[in-house]
Symmetry: C2
Subunit: 96 residues, 2 copies
C-alpha cells in the first residue's frame, strides 16, 4: 500500500479552513480519484497545520490520479481553503 | 484518535536502516507504550526518508508514553538505525 500525503506547513499569517477542507475539498479528491481510504489530520503540535493521507494500491495509481481529468478542478479548489504551499510525500507502508 | 508521527527528513550523507527500524525499533516503542495501531513508512518521493505513525486515544496518552520508564531506552536505540534528527507531529484525526 502506498501513502500519498499532502502536508500543510504552519505559516505565519496564512489561512486554513479545516471545515471546508474536511467537508468539501478532500471529498472532491476522494470521489474524483476513487480513493478507498483517506485520513485527515488537524495539527495540534509540530510543524504542520493540517494533512491528508490518501491510500493507493500503487504508485501507478497515484500517477493516474494526478493525470486524471478532474485533478485540475481539485487544484483550483485549493484557494478556497488555504494559501499555504503544500508539501507532498509518497511512501510505501512497510508495516501496518 | 490522535496521530503521533515521527518523520525523518532526507539528509545528505545520513544513514537510515529501514529493516532495523521496522523489525527492532518500532516494535520496542509499540510494546513499551502499549500502542494498538502503528504504521511505518519508507519514503519513495518527497522530503522524508521514513516515518512512523502511532495512533493514541488522546494527547494525555501520548504524554504518559513520553514519560514512561522505558522511553529512555527507546531514545537510546535511535543511534542503532539513524543519525537523522526527527521531526515530531501530533495531530487530531478528524476523518478516517
Amino acid at each position: 500500500m502506498i501513502r500519498f500525503s499532502v502536508l500543510y506547513p504552519k505559516t505565519d499569517g496564512a489561512r486554513f479552513d479545516h471545515d471546508y477542507y474536511r467537508d468539501q475539498h478532500v471529498p472532491l479528491a476522494v470521489s474524483t480519484w476513487g480513493v478507498e481510504r483517506v485520513e485527515i489530520d488537524k495539527g495540534l503540535d509540530g510543524p504542520y497545520e493540517a494533512a491528508v493521507h490518501f491510500f493507493f494500491p500503487s504508485t501507478d495509481a497515484i500517477a493516474a490520479a494526478m493525470g486524471a481529468e478532474g485533478t485540475a478542478a481539485i487544484s483550483a479548489d485549493v484557494a478556497n481553503y488555504t494559501d499555504i504551499k503544500a508539501v507532498l510525500q509518497t511512501s510505501e507502508i512497510v508495516e501496518g
